[in-house]
Amino acid sequence: MTAQSTDIATYNFAYLDEQTKRMIRRAILKGIAIPGYQVPFASREMPMPYGWGTGGVQVTASIIGPDDVLKVIDQGADDTTNAVSIRAFFKKVTNVAVTTDTASATIIQTRHRIPEHPLTADQVLVYQVPIPEPLRFLEPRETETRKMHALEEYGLMHVKLYEDIAKHGRIATTYAYPVKVEGRYVMDPSPTPKFDNPKMHRSPALQLFGAGREKRIYAVPPFTEVVSLDFEDHPFEVQTFDQPCALCAAENVYLDEVILDDHGGHMFVCSDTDHCEKRRNAPTSPLWGGRAEGAGGGLDQSTPHSTPTPAPRADPPHKGEGKEIR
C-alpha cells in the first residue's frame, strides 16, 4: 500500500461504493417527490460515530461531484470540530474545493443552522439530522408514528404545543420546532433554532435532510411552503435579541453566548462565523470579493471596529428573551 503517493485517498470517489450511492440517490429523488416524508434508506457505517453527522455525510457523498464547492458548518461555525473534520473528510475522499464563504459554496452541509446569507437556486443545503421523526418524543412506536403520518393525524403535536402554553404561557419550543410542509407532512427541521424556520419557507435552494442512525432521508424542494405550527392566538415567533453581535454589531441574526471567564463574563456573538467575519472585514476585505448584496452591511467604515471587552451584565440576555409571559 503506497497511499501516501497520491493526494486522494484510495477509496472510491466520495468514499461510498456506487451501489450505496444509487440507493441513497433513489431515496433522495423520492424525498423530493414527497416533500417532508421520511424515506427509509439503508444507512451505512461511516468512518465517524453516529451522531456526528453520518446522515448528512452520506447525502453529501451521494450528490457531490468534482465541480462542487463544499462548505460545512456546525452551529453556524466553520471552525469547530465537527465542521473541520467533515470538511477534511471530503477533502480527502473527493478532492473537491472547500470554502467557508456561504455565497460561493454549491453544497452546504449543516449541523443545526441555516446561514444568514440568503441561499440561491444553485445551492443545496444538506442537514445533519439526529431524530428525524417529529412525533418520536410524543409516541415512541414507529408503527404508530407511521400510521399518524399516513392518516395526517397530527393532533398530538398540537396538544404538545398547547401544553407548552398551559405551562409557560407561550410556546416554549425553541429548536427543532415542527413545521408542516406543503400542507401535508409535519416535519422536524432538525435541531435548528426556530429563528431559522422562516428561512426554509419558499427557499430557492434545495434542502436535503439525512439521519444516519435513524436511517431516514427527507427533502424540501425549492419554493415549497414550510409553515411552523402555531395557534391563532399564539402565533409563531422567532427569538429576538436585545443587543447586537458583540463582534460585528449585526442585528436580526442568531447569537451564541460565549463564556469568557469564571466570573460570569460572557458575550453574545453571531452564530454564523462566516457572516460575522465578512461584516468585520467588510467592505475592503478580499474575502468579500466586492460583493455587496446580503452583506449585512451597516458597519461604519470610518470607525475601525475593535472587539469590545465585555463586562458582566446584571441582566444577561437569553435565548427567547424579549417575550412577554402573558
Partner: protein, 203 residues
C-alpha cells in the same frame, strides 16, 4: 453487430462521474419540475432505448430495482440484454412490481394507475416512469404549479399518454401515493413529480 457485443458496449465510459452527472441532472429536474436539464449522451444503448433513458437507467438502477419495459422495449432482445448486463436489474413481472418503468412509446402506454402507487404508509414504494418524448416544446402546453416552481412553469412534451392531464389530476389526488415521471429527449430531461399540478390552460 451481434447481440452479445451490443449488450456489452455503450455503457458509461467513466461510471463514477457519469453516474454522478446524470443523477444531479435528474435531482435538479425533480426539484424544479418543468425545468429542462441538459444531459450529455453518456450511454449508447441499442435502439429503441434512447441514450438519455439508458443513462438514467445506468445511474439509478441495479439488482435492487425491478424494471418494467413497455412492449416496444420488451420486444428488443438487445435492449433487455444491454440493461441486464449493465445494471443487473431484474425485469418486473407486472408494472405494479416495478421500481422504474422505461417507456419508449408513451402515446400507447397503459394507464398511470396500473403502476405501483406506493402505500399510504410507504408512499416511496412507487414506480418512477421514464418516458421517451421526442421534444418538450411541440406538444400540448402544460402549465405547471407546485413545490419546486416559483410561480409557474410551462413545458409542452410531444407524444404524451392519452388523457394525460386527466390521468395526472387523478395522480395528484392520490397524494402522497402516486407515480413520478421523468421525461427524456435526445438532449435533456424534465420531471413531473407527483406534487406538480397541471393547470388547465384557457382555450
Amino acid at each position: 453487430m451481434d447481440i452479445a457485443a451490443q449488450s456489452i458496449e455503450g455503457g458509461f465510459a467513466d461510471p463514477v462521474f457519469n453516474a454522478q452527472t446524470v443523477f444531479r441532472a435528474v435531482m435538479d429536474a425533480m426539484a424544479r419540475p418543468g425545468s429542462v436539464q441538459p444531459l450529455p449522451p453518456f450511454a449508447r444503448p441499442p435502439v429503441p432505448l434512447s441514450a438519455a433513458a439508458g443513462a438514467i437507467a445506468l445511474a439509478l438502477c441495479d439488482n435492487d430495482t425491478p424494471l418494467w419495459l413497455d412492449p416496444a422495449l420488451q420486444a428488443s432482445t438487445a435492449v433487455r440484454s444491454w440493461l441486464g448486463f449493465h445494471t443487473g436489474a431484474p425485469l418486473a413481472n407486472t408494472p405494479a412490481d416495478a421500481h422504474f418503468a422505461l417507456i419508449a412509446a408513451p402515446a400507447e402506454m397503459m394507464a398511470l394507475d396500473g403502476f405501483s402507487q406506493g402505500t399510504q404508509d410507504y408512499p416511496d414504494r412507487s414506480t418512477t416512469l421514464i418516458l421517451h418524448v421526442s421534444d418538450l416544446v411541440s406538444g400540448t402546453p402544460l402549465l405547471l404549479e407546485g413545490p419546486g416552481i416559483e410561480t409557474s412553469a410551462t413545458i409542452a412534451p410531444a407524444q404524451m399518454p392519452r388523457h394525460f392531464v386527466e390521468q395526472w389530476k387523478q395522480n395528484n389526488k392520490r397524494f402522497p401515493r402516486g407515480v413520478d415521471i421523468i421525461l427524456v429527449t435526445a438532449d435533456g430531461i424534465a420531471c413531473l413529480p407527483r406534487t406538480t399540478r397541471i393547470k388547465t390552460m384557457e382555450a
